[in-house]
Subunit: 381 residues, 4 copies
């Protein structure tokens, strides 16, 4: 059948479909370097916390910064719409599933209070933490200067899909090169998921891109509008764009894989696919310190006309420090994420994140052997 | 193993196996054009309602036309066999599964009343709506003139599989070029699912083809007779035939993907695969206005000797207008189908349906992450 | 990774992974020819009934012959070991799962009574039916002459895997060319599943081969010894061997797909893959006339040291005639198998079984859409 | 999409995805040779018992040796940390899931007693059995001489992943060529899973490698650190390395597939993939003689900071001899493993394990037909 005449399709891959091949050399985990550089800033761990209301509030951001990572505060979320953000979040956690979406639609339709932006950012800065904050492309013009004045260290411009070019009648699209000229702090933009779109974003002068459309646990983008690229392929694509941009310009724009990472295994694969850092939502929403109290919901869930995503009960499993660094007695890969990363780098023979980019990756079906043959067996008394 | 010596097979794809890649440019959804042209007619939305008794009766057809789409009335179904069609449909809805197929076999064995054709079509036309009506190839000779006289605006000739050439001893097969000469209104013919069969149909002079064999939710064609082509590949094939036919003749024959579309995501993928319009069954059977009252069954279910298909309880979820245009608080993709289409076109950078045909499509496994890791976690009290 | 250095593997396919593409021409089902020729014999339907004790006893064989097919009586099963075969089979049906395998091992360890061979075959012949009977390769030397004397019309030499060459110290292997010289009736040999093994068998002078290792519903060959070829690929391979043998010798050796066929869809795919006939077990075990009374078990289940297979409760669903020819009110593909075949041939444009070999087959994932999106929806009261 | 620019990935395969093709010649199972040679030693069966505390204690090792195989005693497990090893293992078996990992972490943190090494090895040797014992790479320098002095016949150096080169600051890595010069008994090293890593290990002068990272039933390596290679591909890779090493040096280094084998079918596939022997854990933990009393857990489960794996209830199904040699009335492939191997070799026409390496292997989806269509059928009363 001549189907390729009209449309050529390539196979893409998600975390569950790939695995890493151990190296010919192994390295002690304590000899590995997992730091992440962004502009002038260096972080001791290559993890960003998602700009989601269930994950990051000022207290969480302070704690996460002290542990070496970078938490992103959502400047268009509950923290900047409500003085009593804790109460609002508690209300979300307590609302039954059937009534949740209308409630979220209502909560997120309240206006953003500029005063709260300064207050929330100020609280983080006062504690001596590095502060990152996110705005949408449409909100950037108004909110970015306020954030900058409040002392934000890293600006994140984020929507489900952000491109270097946007066509609109109702407002003049965000011009990223202009933003880069006016804001001195590092700028992260996203999300994107293809080679060409990533390359165009990099060419605007930004410092990092967020990779990931449709792969997250709290996301139904693909079900609702058919759009999405599995996260391993998306990261490989964007990393390829980074290499080309580096060769052409000499500038290294970091690739941050955002969404779809649930275990240490997924995290290790993201780095092997080419990520410089990862942005985590669900795994951090499980921390005792997370504001969501065991629940998690996505940015598109409150869309007034076309809501996407679901609230997930992730549970509260451990303190943030234990989720990141262990030790743990849990064997499923949800705790000691950085211990897992160092161990993986060790067996793959990668001394640094950049060396991890060279690790061999294979296409391998997900393993679900447990109990397959043994559950039905009988014990002899 | 030399298996290819005897038979070459290519891999084909369904909606669950593909996804769309966002564009390098994005467009505001309100800047997209989703209209659909058929002959002299133009519809503001590219959706046809299936010629199924659970979906379209005259009242539904009127409402659907006012909302911008084209509903197809089945001229060989319950509406033209029974004066009291509502009662018959109510009986089907109330019959338990075990007794359903024999009941359907009996109901659909009653004769078609020509008088009812005129009445049903007349009711639709009197309300100022555009009226489309379907006949089978075997019934075309007798029923098409009656439908035409009654004022049908669009004639649909439909069976499970319709080809330009049919071999039969018992009756002289339908000659499509003859039909095209005698009927002045646009003619849609189907279903088909391959490049070559679509091309032959287009060469008969018809205006649109219906694409889809074996993919629908209420269909067991593939289980019973082994025949079927997954809908994405089928649409790509037939779109390729359209392009070739256009190049050879200058005539644009529309491709209408029929069957297997259950969510906004599926719908968006159909257009990206090359569809000019889609025909929906189950998604519209869920409307409050649908005659099936929450149930849905297919055309082959009543075959006297070899019934295929099942009755599906789709439920009644919302008014037709909300299913088509939202707004909604449902996140699974079954409501605000056209909002989903416009959003998808926006993120894919497609200003029109034809531009949507150029969107990159990838082979990507279906995502079922929800609850996978989180359901079993425990909350700390 | 250089894995191909050591071992090259090709992808193979089973019934659930393929589908048929409708033709560019369609044919009325009543214009199709589904007859099957074997030596001088011609059968009006291309179906053999498996040499399994749950499927074929003399009464079933007579009925099946009258309906146009060919039932194979197992000469090394219960019918030839027990006068009171009905009682033995009833005992199997009533034994709980946990005690079944030891019982089967015991039952099948009783000696074969030569007298019963003559009696069982005689009963079939006296009724005017065509009689086929099966022996194992090891039993052929002793039992084939007895069967021949008793009037068997078709001899089947069958074991899980039969090759033209067999190495053994304990007995002189069966020499098929010798057998072909001594037995005048058509000889069917199997099972095999590869191009080369099928070709070697054909070169011995036999009339048909049985294709299928490890695909049957009551079979665990692959789980126990790792061996098996999915049935679509196996049939394609053996059909390719048939074509080569025909070209080289002018002799047409029939390919009979045996095992793994559960529905009309599977059956149609077997023919499109190249089968001249199919051998059915489970689908016929569901007939009221089947001796198994709703149960079904395989030939290897009674192996004294390494039993393979399971007893399956297939249920008793309809008279044999209805399973073969309908009409039916069941939509899942288990009844009116020949109506399904004719319909499939019709939509694929195949006038005969040989033309069915030319039908396009695609690789397509199994469709399981039913209830996927609709089960959880709520009805508006 | 230019994803291959950055990273090329190949498809890999596990046991469930492949099957063996019968040969063109068949051999009586009793004519097959399944012996396994390692250095000067020859074993009548090609099976090693895993160095796991639930599988091998001295009594088990003695019994297993008498049956012709080679059991490996873990010198860094419970047997060498506790005098009362039976009580400790009983405690593990009785501890509920929720408390298990902390308990294992505690149990395995106790010091190894050198005296117990001599005692345990001595007990095995005194019974006239061949004794194999395992140490980790880090423990080799200290424990290997003790084991050697105690009379160990085969030394196994094993960790999750072992390479010929290891980078560490805290201790001087194990130098395998040195070890080979000082230890006269055969040395087995592992685990590894790629062509290049296997080749480097072989070049150090060892006698056999263990193949398998991440495939075992009690293993979550892949979930936690993303690392693993499906076992069929891993075996093929390492077998290719063996062939190259043989060609270059004339030395045959045995390939032992370790992990992921649960049934006779898996075992047969391992040999066809190139294994000279297999190492079994779960299948032997099901023996009455196994110390785990129906439970099974892996080596990494007790890691103090990043535990991996789960305890599996495998059940106790039969005496060791029956699991290995049958006869059996179980049809699922978990008993009579060597009967299964001989039968598989017979139908594949392989007289020896080395001939088994030449058997054709195909990519074939796992078959799960049982009950698929029949469970829901109704019996006619």
């Amino acid at each position: 059948m001549p189907q390729r005449k009209f449309k050529e399709m390539v196979r893409t891959y998600g975390f569950d479909e790939v695995a890493l091949v151990p190296g010919d050399i192994t390295i002690n985990p304590d000899q590995t370097d997992i730091s992440f550089a962004l502009g002038n800033l260096t972080f001791s761990i290559p993890i960003l916390a998602s700009a989601m209301d269930a994950v990051v509030n000022p207290l969480f951001a302070i704690k996460f910064s002290k542990l070496g990572g970078l938490a992103v505060l959502n400047l268009e979320g509950i923290q900047t719409r409500y003085e009593n953000s804790d109460e609002i979040i508690a209300e979300i956690a307590q609302t039954p599933d059937a009534k949740l979406t209308p409630l979220l639609q209502k909560i997120y339709s309240q206006p953003i209070k500029e005063k709260l932006i300064s207050e929330r950012v100020g609280a983080i800065k006062q504690a001596g933490a590095i502060c990152a904050a996110s705005v949408t492309p449409a909100g950037t013009k108004r909110l970015a200067p306020i954030a900058s004045d409040a002392g934000v260290d890293v600006l994140v411009v984020q929507s489900t899909i952000t491109t270097a070019r946007h066509v609109s009648k109702s407002y003049r699209g965000l011009i990223l090169p202009e933003l880069c000229r006016t804001i001195s702090s590092p700028i992260i933009v996203g999300n994107c998921c293809s080679y060409s779109a990533a390359l165009e974003l990099m060419q605007t002068g930004i410092d990092a891109i967020l990779v990931g459309v449709g792969p997250g646990a709290a996301c139904t983008t693909r079900e609702v509008i058919g759009v999405g690229v599995p996260q391993v392929t998306a990261t490989i694509e964007c990393a390829a764009a980074r290499e080309r941009h580096l060769k052409e310009t000499g500038k290294y724009v970091s690739v941050i894989t955002d969404g779809g990472i649930r275990t240490g295994g997924d995290l290790c694969k993201a780095f092997a696919a080419g990520a410089d850092a990862v942005m985590l939502g669900s795994p951090l929403a499980q921390a005792i310190e997370a504001p969501g109290k065991g629940y998690h919901w996505g940015m598109s869930h409150s869309h007034p006309a076309l809501p996407r995503g679901t609230r997930i009960k992730v549970g509260t499993i451990a303190p943030l420090e234990q989720i990141l660094f262990g030790p743990t007695s849990v064997t499923g890969g949800t705790q000691n994420l950085l211990g897992a990363l160092r161990t993986s780098m060790g067996v793959c023979g990668a001394r640094s994140i950049k060396k991890m980019h060279d690790v061999k990756m294979i296409i391998a079906p997900s393993i679900k052997t447990e109990g397959k043959y043994f559950q039905a067996t009988q014990s002899i008394p």
